[in-house]
């Protein structure tokens, strides 16, 4: 076993070219659990801890795009100033594990592992985020929707590093909701993110843990756009919100497993979508308006 302590993105992609089977280690919340359990199975590791480039973020004011390094820890996402720019992501970050886990874990790890229950992933889907990848030959970016291909499978190549995520900043409510057995240290039974882009007039809703990968409820989004004026403040009735939730839930394909049942998960996402839409429509709720 070799452990490479890289200090720059160039060093990481160079090491990946030499050791394409190596595992990338950022916060360790997935990889170290496996290594602790199965020493013998641990292959080569490229550690990203000292790659400070992966922990940077900035806003391109011209395009109102936020570029987030893949290694920015959840602890930073839940604090100011990032929590004001990306409120739904901050809410999702706050539900991840515990403070200890949030100090270590990052969206890069969430994307690399690509679990359907990854807490940050429904938010990235609702943001229509772009995933930035680099290997020794160059860099490319792809839509989050193309990146996530299945249960713990993503579209990156073996020699590629996830360097960051970018998303367009929007005005309007955005919120995240998660169902689990307690408030901390749980893998979600179901989760939902809703983003209202009040300038362009769209509402985007995504669900976690109810299909092999994150689900965007595009039919329900289109139905909503036909029935509600989405530019500026929105006005929805309780009945309409309920129908929106029910329609959105039909786009999920949950399963029965040790954490929950398919029927409960379908019901849960219906309620979460309804609730988030009502929050988006009600001024002065506890919800968040991106600034």
């Amino acid at each position: 076993m070799t452990v490479v302590n890289a200090t720059s993105i160039d060093e990481v992609v160079d090491a990946l070219r030499r050791l394409p089977q190596a595992r990338l280690l950022q916060g360790g919340t997935d990889v170290m659990v496996e290594i602790n359990l199965n020493r013998a199975g641990a292959g080569d590791v490229i550690a990203l801890r000292q790659v400070s480039e992966l922990r940077r973020w900035y806003v391109d004011e011209e395009s109102r795009t936020l570029h987030l390094g893949a290694g920015v820890p959840y602890a930073e996402l839940e604090r100011s100033p990032l929590c004001n720019l990306l409120p739904a992501l901050a809410e999702a970050a706050r539900t991840v594990g515990s403070p200890q886990i949030r100090a270590a874990g990052s969206l890069g790890g969430n994307l690399g592992t690509c679990s359907p229950a990854g807490d940050g992933l429904p938010v990235l889907s609702a943001y229509d985020a772009m995933v930035h990848l680099r290997n020794a030959d160059g860099s490319r970016q792809m839509s989050i929707h193309d990146f996530m291909v299945g249960v713990k499978r993503n579209a990156s190549a073996a020699d590629e590093l996830i360097t960051g995520i970018s998303m367009q900043l929007t005005r309007g409510f955005q919120g995240y909701a998660k169902v689990g057995t307690r408030n901390a240290m749980v893998i979600s039974v179901a989760s939902a993110c809703l983003v209202h882009d009040s300038e362009r007039g769209s509402i985007r809703v995504a669900f976690g843990a109810v299909a092999p990968t994150i689900v965007r409820a595009r039919n329900a989004e289109a139905w909503l756009a036909e029935n509600v004026e989405l530019v500026g403040a929105i006005d929805v009735s309780g009945r309409l919100a309920r129908e929106f939730g029910e329609r959105a839930a039909t786009e999920c394909t949950p399963i029965d497993d040790h954490r929950s049942t398919a029927a409960y998960r379908r019901h849960a996402v219906s309620v979460l979508a309804e609730r988030l839409l009502l929050r988006a429509a009600t001024p002065n709720t506890t919800g968040n308006r991106a600034s």
Binding site: L25, T29, M32, I35, R49, S98, P99
Partner: protein, 167 residues
């Protein structure tokens, strides 16, 4: 960039409680938890779940409370690590340790070092945590004896004592 291999003669160094420690002849995949306890003779950090769930192994790394079981020790060569053994500067119990004893927040004691470290990290960041902030800050530290009531009381006492001291 540095590489470590488990060839037997490789070594790396860690900064723990302000001191530089050489780690030699160790398997490079070892967790910081294992290295602290088994190689550096610092058994205050406890190991239980080894998957980041229980918080018994909480240490402070570069100012943030983390689970030592999820840190690969050979990658932490640049980090400033503080364990429960390094919290006191004068050999006496810290204010947080004393409040845990006074409030009855210690029963079997296994979760205590992790909680003490987590509470120190909380109070360093936020000198006047609310009830919710206290609960959130130690949500990753599992105690199976106390039912948490006296642990919350210990944190409140430590918070209030510090605030009185600051006035």
């Amino acid at each position: 960039m540095t590489s470590s291999q488990d060839q037997g003669n490789e070594f790396y160094a860690l900064t723990v409680n302000g001191m530089r420690h050489q780690v030699q002849d160790a398997w490079v995949g070892e967790s910081l938890l294992y290295v602290l306890r088994e190689r550096l003779g610092l058994p205050g950090t406890k190991g239980a779940c080894e998957q980041g769930e229980c918080g018994s192994c909480t240490v402070v790394m570069d100012g943030e409370a983390v689970c030592a079981c999820l840190v690969m020790a050979a990658t932490a060569v640049d980090a400033d690590i503080v364990t429960v053994e390094g919290l006191s500067t004068d050999g006496e119990p810290t204010d947080v340790q004393r409040s845990f004893v006074d409030a009855g927040g210690v029963q079997c004691g296994f979760c205590t070092p992790g909680l003490i470290v987590a509470v120190h990290a909380l109070l360093e960041r936020n000198s006047s945590p609310s009830e919710l902030e206290i609960r959130e800050a130690i949500s990753g530290n599992i105690c199976r004896c106390t039912g948490y009531g006296r642990i919350f009381e210990a944190v409140r006492q430590a918070r209030d004592t510090r605030q009185q001291g600051a006035q």
